[in-house]
Symmetry: C3
Subunit: 312 residues, 3 copies
């Protein structure tokens, strides 16, 4: 593994999940592995869980951490090839990525989708720019099209619930006032392809995810029907993919309720809008796994950093 850019970089999901669960039992076992090594976190967007859990994971491994917010602390980057840089952008990602590589052993990057230009978002110019030019491993802390640290944490959370039978897992769209990216949903779907489970995606018409990601998977437009007899319901909003980045509607009927949840466990990556995405009763109830998902972000990051450190 050169980098951790997407779920596709996981060579053995069950093995990684087991390793993460072991790290969780004794987080500082490998405190010497990262000694003298430095992780640099570069944020082009806001973050709470990712910011803190990735730092914590690095500290557990004995690494030093340097955190930088590119927006207000660094320079505006240019990504184009051959550009005459006489406008607002001060530095090319070619230099930025090579330079950062001089000061750290692993670089982790968060850069959300802009949701205005599908081709540009799918080109992943920030993440791929760094992955192309950095001379150290690059970790995706949520990019335009994927959030593989979250999906790996979700896999750990699912595994900890050790369902006794092959579980039914539903990914359900829910309403939200703002246009949100597809990254979390995309990586969850990719991770689900590596799980032995009955997997159903449900959303209103018009909210289909990128068809190349959902190809061959079950899509059920009736949310209630999709949720019947589910063991886990993962709720998440995303904006339209076909009418790219648009909020087509915020139909409140799609909010997750106790009734729809039934006997299933509730999952969400957070932050979550209460009583818009999910009713208070669900989020505050015993079936909610959201805090454990957040907790597992540390061990998801830690297993990734550990694997990258082991091969250097």
């Amino acid at each position: 593994m050169k980098n951790y850019l997407s779920i596709k970089d996981i060579d053995n999901l069950p093995g990684w999940v087991e390793e993460a669960k072991k790290l969780k039992q004794n987080p500082v076992t490998h405190k010497n592995l990262g000694a003298g090594k430095t992780l640099c976190l570069l944020f082009f967007n806001n973050s709470l869980r990712t910011r803190l859990s990735t730092q914590k994971a690095a500290l557990n491994l004995g690494m030093e951490v340097m955190v930088m917010n590119f927006g207000n602390e660094g320079w505006i980057l240019e990504y184009g090839d051959g550009t005459v840089m006489d406008q607002g952008n001060s530095e090319h990602v070619k230099e930025a990525a090579q330079v950062v590589s001089q000061y750290c052993d692993i670089v982790a990057i968060r850069a959300f989708a802009g949701l205005k230009d599908k081709a540009k978002d799918e080109a992943e110019e920030v993440l791929n720019g760094f992955a192309t030019y950095a001379s150290v491993p690059v970790v995706n802390m949520e990019s335009s099209v994927g959030h593989p640290l979250q999906a790996l944490a979700d896999a750990i959370t699912l595994s900890e619930q050790h369902p006794t039978k092959r579980p039914k897992i539903v990914l359900s769209w829910a309403p939200h006032p703002k246009a949100l990216p597809h990254a979390v949903a995309n990586s969850f779907v990719e991770m689900m392809r590596l799980q032995d489970a009955e997997f159903v995606i449900t959303h209103p018409k018009g909210y289909e995810l990128n068809p190349s990601i959902t190809e061959g998977l079950t899509i059920e437009y009736d949310q209630k029907k999709a949720c019947e007899n589910a063991d886990f319901i993962y709720v998440k909003n995303w904006s339209s993919y076909s009418d790219y980045g648009k909020v087509l509607h915020q139909n409140p009927d799609w909010m997750m309720t106790q009734e729809k949840l039934g006997g299933a466990k509730f999952m969400h990556c957070l932050p979550v809008r209460r009583n818009v995405i999910v009713a208070d009763a669900v989020l505050d109830g015993a079936k909610s796994l959201v805090i454990e998902q957040a907790n597992n972000r540390t061990f998801s990051a830690q297993v990734v950093l550990k694997k990258l450190l082991e091969q250097t």
Copy 2:
């Protein structure tokens, strides 16, 4: 002590002050106490002294520190119960507090009074929100109504001057162009209730502090008279409490001068407006304790963190 939210959480002020003074003599004696433990500092407002001294205190104890500015780095929090979160706020403090608790062993929070809505400020929604939902101890780095790390540092500073007699200590209002919170004054008053001293509060009419905090204490509206024969004069601006958050006037006669100071020592929590709050001659003179007060912020934080670490 579950949390350090206010002066009321100090069970034995003289004991804490003595412990802080011992830590000051050898700050790294307890370097092992915090090994493998992480402090998370969450700032909802600007900070210089608190930001650096609290970090330094944690490093002295061997802790790791993660610093986060909620404003521009995290998500806008919601505090209400049962709110339909379809407006600007992205995450509820219920989740934020539980999530942060997954990544650290102690969380410290700065969230100033907004000075627009007295009831809201007195509800301390940020500090109390975290204290209610966090599963780790919470430390107040200045909230709407209190700044107990400052008042503890002030107690250390007073003690270091070891007055030979029961001292006369004055808390004097001074003018300021902007509306400032009451937190520093409130906590100083609460701390003074635990001191064996003659304590006088002086301010112009209309600038009375919350009467439930000053109940039974001496208020003298004539500043010169209040300052006569004082051993320590603590100067601080605050906005009106009765006409909540308003600057009623900026009467320059209330600026602290050499003449009014007399033989007393000058105290202020900083930052301070020169020649508005206090004359240059006082601040630059031998009677000023402000830098020592700032220095003691480290040991005030360190004694609090030490006590919280010892009971985990």
Copy 3:
């Protein structure tokens, strides 16, 4: 050396360069030197290389690091003597510098030229304010008129190329859409005075640097002629000094090209505007030393910190 404020604080450039090159071969040799010591980085302006490389240097020496952005995290500082601080500035540098000195062992400061008021910029109020009032050593991370950590890194880079003969080194102006400070050019010139080299400065008329800095040096207004047979060409934009802070023109003929570079090595401090300052072919070519210059920023900072730590 009390502080590292300018190239003039280097007592023996060849000795420092050799020491830096040794640190580069084994960066953690002196890991114990900084144990229990804290470096505080104060940024009044953006930074990528300086932010990360100075942290890395400190970590290599075993120091703890606290990073603070004064702009959005702290208070707006006042620098004037005797000012009545009833306007926007909340804290005087006198207090800020003394206070920060309570929490760290070395303080490093970045504060760019405003380019509006020459006298104010040349007074270096931020850097000199801290140097005057701090009780710990102060390091210049680029001030109004100098960037001595960069120039020291440049000296290391030049030395690593070990030219077999006395080299010809050219400092060439290049166009840029925005008004940039003179700090990098100034410190490079000052450092060149300590080198055994043929040194030529080239720029269009009107872009003369501060004559007190270039006094006695060769200035050639014909860029092509200046670059003939050069071994190293250091390219950098700066705004006019005589018509202070103005962009007189952005003549694209002054961009560095393969043709003008000839057999010379290309140097630039970064960030650099591609195809404005320098053609892609030069920057991406084998003659470019820019990434190695960035790498040497770590060891330039490390040798400075090491010397400051050794004398405390």
